[in-house]
């Protein structure tokens, strides 16, 4: 009992000293945190985000940074789990003293780590959190990634344009993946809203390799359109087995299949899969064309959506900091005050990013003008590309 009492009083003393901590100035170069998945199985997405953020750092600093003051990105690995994301956020907020954070990669991690930043009054921009409820976590939380409910329906509308005779639809989804289960809800609602018949709904796991049961059910339902929400490996295998067993109709893939990592899995059979996009390399804005050119020069391929979104996240921070700097020099701000002011500025600004023109509503939800739909075109068994449909 004594022990607990001792702990309580020690904690009380600490709480008092914490209140007396000195006001901190903003460091130069201005630190902006990036907490995405650099390890774990989420790293496939996270690595593309790291590349996108690094591009933004190099490019925007070359253009004068924040009105002459350079900024630097501080990376902390948020891995794929909640604990790592919280640790990464804590590190960035208290040790690295960043003005704001771009991250984390997964929505589930956002629900764990974002409240920490919100309580510390540090602005956060989610680069790839698409689940419902993320911007509503708090005043300091916003995202540049459009939610599933906005992006996904575009794929169905395009499929109907390609084949107006579509009547019956099968929906398949990975039930152990948060993104896929939330995406399939949107797909199913859109199918009904478009007056189509939802003939069958099939579940699978991201770890499955054999999809005979699901494919047989789809074939028996005699559908004209199959919609798959899963990740690259399982989604690719499912597409392959659908085609191998004789499915002839159109296939729509969810955002988890929105990566060239799927090509080695379904190879030639990937051909024709339709995927809705929040980003297109052919977006005509100057900001995007410079980004695409530099990315192609370095990686010999088009930039993926995750890289473009991370780039946009960093860009929004930098442009908002420029606006704050014009009112009062960044170096003279107290860090805590700057974070508060920066958050306000982010929400009122308009940004011409590679994603096109974006802005935020008062909750921090992204308002994006353009969405895209692409179709996979395979050259041979290994190489293919996303062809954007008008």
């Amino acid at each position: 009992m004594n022990r607990t009492k001792l702990k309580v009083s020690a904690a009380a003393v600490l709480a008092v000293t914490a209140g007396l901590a000195f006001a901190q100035k903003v460091e130069s170069p201005v630190p902006i945190g990036v907490a995405v998945a650099q390890t774990s199985n989420t790293a496939l997405l996270g690595q593309e985000q790291v590349i996108g953020a690094r591009f933004a750092e190099k490019f925007l600093n070359a253009r004068g940074g924040i009105n002459g003051t350079p900024f630097k990105l501080v990376f902390q690995d948020a891995a794929g789990d909640e604990n790592s994301a919280i640790n990464a956020f804590q590190n960035l907020i208290t040790k690295e003293r960043v003005v704001g954070i771009v991250g984390p990669t997964l929505s589930q991690q956002a629900f764990a780590a974002d409240p920490i930043a919100d309580r510390a009054k540090v602005p956060v921009l989610g680069p790839s959190n698409t689940a419902k409820g993320v911007p509503q976590i708090g005043n300091y939380i916003a995202r540049v990634s459009a939610p599933v409910a906005v992006v996904a329906p575009n794929a169905i509308r395009t499929a109907l344009r390609l084949d107006p005779k579509i009547k019956k639809v099968a929906v398949l989804y990975a039930q152990n993946d948060a993104f896929s289960t939330s995406e399939t809800g949107t797909f199913q609602e859109t199918v009904k809203a478009q007056g189509l018949t939802l003939s069958t709904v099939q579940k699978f796991q991201t770890t499955d390799t054999d999809f005979t049961t699901q494919v047989t059910a789809v074939l028996n339902a005699d559908v004209d359109l199959a919609i798959v929400s899963g990740l690259a490996a399982d989604g690719g295998n499912l597409v392959k087995q659908l085609r191998q067993l004789g499915y002839k109709g159109l296939i729509i893939g969810g955002n988890g299949l929105n990566t060239s990592n799927m090509f080695p899995v379904c190879q030639k059979l990937c051909d024709g899969v339709i995927i809705a996009q929040a980003y297109s390399p052919s977006q005509p804005s100057a900001a995007n064309q410079v980004f695409v050119k530099e990315y192609r020069a370095q990686y010999k391929k088009d930039p993926p959506q995750f890289a473009a979104q991370a780039y946009a996240g960093v860009q929004v921070f930098v442009e908002a900091l420029r606006a704050v700097d014009r009112k009062k020099k960044i170096a003279t701000w107290d860090l805590d005050d700057l974070r508060v002011e920066l958050n306000k500025q982010i929400l009122v600004g308009k940004y011409n990013t590679p994603l096109g023109l974006i802005a935020f509503d008062k909750e921090g939800e992204v308002v994006q003008k353009d969405f895209y739909v692409a179709q996979i075109k395979m050259k041979d068994a290994k190489t293919g590309s996303f062809v954007f449909l008008k």
Binding site: L14, T17, A21, Q90
Partner: protein
């Protein structure tokens, strides 16, 4: 100091949390049962707390109890896990060794798939926006509930080991048939050990749900089972300090080595390999061996009877 707590508060609490989960596995091991069910009960406890703290069905209860709801979630999680422990334990503990381990993994998987499919558990996204225990603002404040829980569990373990029940556990571990022959009912004690572990894991889960802000099916997975087993094996499975040391070490290493970036996971792997190769008794086991006084030296050879002075 406050900066230190701000930066490392979360980590310190996760060290204690890992130690507690290690201890929850230590009880069945005390009775010789290799169970991997802890993450299942941990997840169950977390869901109980998350649902009680966010579901509109409990709104009235939350309003009347105020902060009292938090201890109530611990109690509810503990009771529910005890019940689940008995239901799972009685049939599962008829199995031994690797078969028991497999059955407990199946239990964890069943719970995971069920929670992915129920709407009350939020499906794959899980439950979010969980209110903070007692209005805690900083992560380190959770030391105030996790710290006393660890102290309490350690004290309980210490007393249990000295008691008749503890001796019965050990007797079953060393030789179940002999223990049975001596009048120690094995099933009863094995289920008891299993249920104690389940209750601890459940309470830790119910405290962790507000601590993590969110709760989802990723909390109770096969990976977590293996991680917790590693806590116990690396720390030492024959002393109650083993799981605590192992849990704290294996949780701290990857975080403290953040400056090494990708290499930190390599170092973590090396720690696991070296510890399991060279410290079969775990870290605490190896330390205990060092402290033990060396076996008494052979007494000096008695001087040979003097041959010279003999008279012939």
């Amino acid at each position: 100091m406050s900066d230190f707590l701000q930066s490392y508060g979360f980590l310190i609490v996760t060290l204690i949390q890992a130690g507690l989960l290690g201890l929850s596995l230590y009880f069945p091991l005390m009775a010789g049962q290799l169970s991997l069910a802890s993450p299942g009960f941990y997840a169950l406890g977390g869901y109980v707390a998350a649902i009680m703290l966010t579901n509109p069905a409990f709104a009235g209860l939350r309003d009347t109890l105020g902060n009292g709801i938090f201890p109530l979630t611990w109690l509810a999680a503990g009771l529910l896990c005890a019940l689940a422990g008995v239901i799972v334990g009685v049939p599962a503990l008829r199995l031994r060794g690797i078969y028991l381990a497999l059955a407990t993994i199946a239990f964890v998987e069943i719970l995971r798939v069920v929670s992915l499919n129920l709407s009350i558990t939020g499906g794959a996204i899980g439950i979010f926006g969980i209110p903070q225990a007692f209005g805690f603002q900083d992560r380190w404040q959770y030391l105030l509930i996790f710290g006393p829980l660890l102290a309490l569990v350690l004290a309980f373990t210490y007393m249990l080991q000295k008691s008749r029940v503890g001796r019965a556990f050990r007797a079953i571990r060393e030789d179940e048939l002999a223990a049975d022959a001596m009048g120690v009912p094995p099933t009863q004690y094995k289920v008891l050990a299993f249920v104690i572990g389940a209750v601890i894991a459940g309470i830790v889960g119910s405290m962790s749900a507000p601590f993590l802000n969110t709760w989802n099916a990723k909390q109770g997975t096969f990976d977590a089972s293996i991680a917790i087993l590693a806590f116990v094996l690396i720390g030492g499975s024959r002393s109650m300090w083993g799981p605590v040391v192992g849990g704290a070490l294996l949780t701290a290493v990857p975080e403290l080595l953040r400056f090494l970036q990708d290499w930190r996971l390599v170092i973590n792997g090396l720690v696991l390999v070296i510890a399991s190769l060279y410290l079969p008794q775990g870290i605490v086991g190896a330390l205990a061996k060092l402290r033990k006084s060396p076996p008494p030296a052979r007494p000096p050879i008695a001087p040979a009877p003097d041959a010279k002075g003999g008279t012939l």
